[in-house]
């Protein structure tokens, strides 16, 4: 008896109403879970991608560091080439040639190869045109007439483009 006084007997109406409220709450919770899950997945994916990219970054940082140093040293080779193009006495010339050979052998051992395209068709993927020369007799347009500065590749990657004079039309 006492209990009956305190607790109202549930009616179909009250239960239906309660059911509606609970349903709405459930829907809201479901939606919230979905959006939370979505943002969590996005963050997780962002992080995964970041990790992957970061891995490349580290490898690239090593390569870039190596390239930076090689590029700085290449200048010494340029000067040697320049010296070799001048008329010097025989003994000096011989010595310079030996240094130049030592230089290029050292680079080769590191996987560095020359790009020296005299007479080849001009290709901006490996060459940088610094001048255009008027076409002379027996000369083919768009080929490399002269190399101002040799280019270099480290394995397959161009680390310095060859500076060239290109024959015009």
């Amino acid at each position: 008896m006492e209990q009956n006084e305190q607790v109202k007997k549930p009616t179909v109406k009250s239960l239906t109403a309660e059911n509606e409220v609970l349903k709405a709450e459930l829907e809201k919770a479901k939606a919230e879970t979905l959006s939370t899950k979505d943002s969590w997945l996005r963050t997780a994916a962002d992080f995964e991608n970041f990790k992957k990219r970061n891995q490349d970054t580290r490898i690239n940082a090593y390569k870039d560091g190596k390239i930076d140093i090689i590029k700085k040293i290449l200048v010494v080779g340029d000067t040697l080439d320049r010296a070799l193009s001048m008329s010097l006495d025989e003994k000096t010339m011989e010595g310079l040639k030996m240094i130049a050979r030592q230089f290029s052998e050292t680079l080769q051992a590191e996987g560095v190869t020359e790009i020296n395209p005299v007479g080849e068709p001009f290709d901006p993927n490996f060459h940088e045109a610094v001048m255009q020369a008027p076409k002379g007799e027996n000369e083919i347009p768009n080929t490399v007439k002269q190399v101002f500065l040799k280019g270099y590749k480290l394995n397959d990657k161009v680390i310095r483009y060859a500076q060239v004079v290109v024959i015009g039309d």
Binding site: L88, P124, A129, F148
Partner: protein
Amino acid sequence: MGKIIGIDLGTTNSCVAVMEGGEPVVIANAEGARTTPSVVGFQKDGERLVGQVAKRQAVANSDRTVISIKRHMGSDYKVEIDGKKYSPQEISAMILSKLKKDAESYLGETVKDAVITCPAYFNDAQRQATKDAGKIAGLNVLRVINEPTAAALAYGLDKDTTSHKVMIYDLGGGTFDVSILDIGDGVFEVLATSGNNMLGGDDFDKKVMDYLVDEFRKKEGIDLSKDKMAMQRLKEAAEKAKIELSSMTSTNVNLPFITADATGPKHLDETITRQKFDALTSDLVEMTIEPLTKALKDAGLSYGDLAKVIMVGGSTRIPAVIERVKQVTGKEPFKGINPDECVAIGAAIQGGVLTGEVKDVLLLDVTPLTLGIETLGGVCTPLIERNTTIPAKKSQVFSTAADNQPEVTIHVLQGERKFAKDNKTLGQFNLTGIAPAPRGIPQIEVTFDIDANGIVHVTAKDLGTQKSADITITSSTNLSEDEINKAVKEAEQYEEEDKKRKEAVDNRNALDGMIFQMEKALKENGDKLPEEDKAKLEELIKEAKTELESNDNDRIKAATEKLSNEAQAIFAKLYQQAGGQPGGADANADGDTEFHQS
């Protein structure tokens, strides 16, 4: 919604950036460079080249190479190549396409939307042309924003709510722009613009080159300007010298065998000081001051009205430029963001605002101070270091400090000092019911778990009995900036002293541990030892105990060494008898991993 990229479509160079995890990131192009030359080249076979590769073939293919197309945006100008006419929008679209592609390969997803920048002085037709260029490139251009506005965004100037006037000084590779903005409550208003569209970094290189040619002529009597190959080398050396002089006060231009005459090879060896460089280029710097004054006048302002000055463009790295602008405006110019990338970064931030990413930045908090527990000797052993990004979780296994210790007290501490008493107590609880065992044997795992709200949950678990106890601390991050700074400062101040004290405690713990090990060994193996050795050992232990009570670091250290050496010699004999390895007296107790007895 996909990512929105921000593009600085420049006259000489372009740059693309994107928001990533709430931060703007500049995207390197396929060739690995962070900016892309705004150059388009058409090969005879119809192939189209964009960027660095187009720039490399420009000299050999000048009629089919388009540079600085931005200067023609919004006009009826057409570029004719192989009989086909291209509008500036179409050429710009080719540049945008490349940037879009580079961004896509970086992000690993298709990019549809973009924010593109344009100069503040662009009129409606020019802005429309910029938008159309994006459309042709397959981009949905959500906004075309002013370059100075983007720069201000990059520096976060939109966050100031009160209205203030800002000057943006943009000295790029080939153009100079100055803008005066009124920024307030996230609204940017362009008050005035001025500039010189034929002034930029290349002019500074030219000055250095001319100087080197002059000097060489004076010294050697040879005119290098007639030697194309020499000039090419000089051009590069001049640019390098300019760059070096931004960070050094002097640089050396060293070009051996630059040329030759009848007397033999000639070398160029010239030292350029920053002072010399400044003198050579002072007229160029001065040329930027007049537009600056003009813009200010047009805006109806005086220098005193400016709240901030922002420097954009690669040439603003030149110290003399910064110095002169500072002198004229009376303001220390804002720098810090890479001036070549600043505008693209601002565009990316605008993109982030549009996606809601910027507003909705997930602010990951950090623990302001180190969290740890007290261990043997009153030492504070850190578990989670300060500045750890939360949520975070860390566990460490500890043990008891005495035989048959039935319980341990977990004293949770916050602070940077080495000793518990100097740090703040966050809470304390006991883990009871530890099974009787010699010291060092029970394994008690203590776990700190901080959730995203900074609530710390500490659990201690006896791995033997699986019994556990815990505490939840809600106030660990309720510290004011001042309190945090004070704690960190204090720790620095007392670092040396604390270190000495900690060392003393470590030494004491080591001796204490060793005495314990010796007593144990004596109890277990004493009967196997000759009487005299046994007596000697007992005497040694007694002596060590006295020394331990002395609390004198040097005496404790000496006693540890003595006990260790002499006792080991005695035990070694025992093991030699048994044919085993000495090791029973290995008493290197690790003070850090033991609790003090509660």
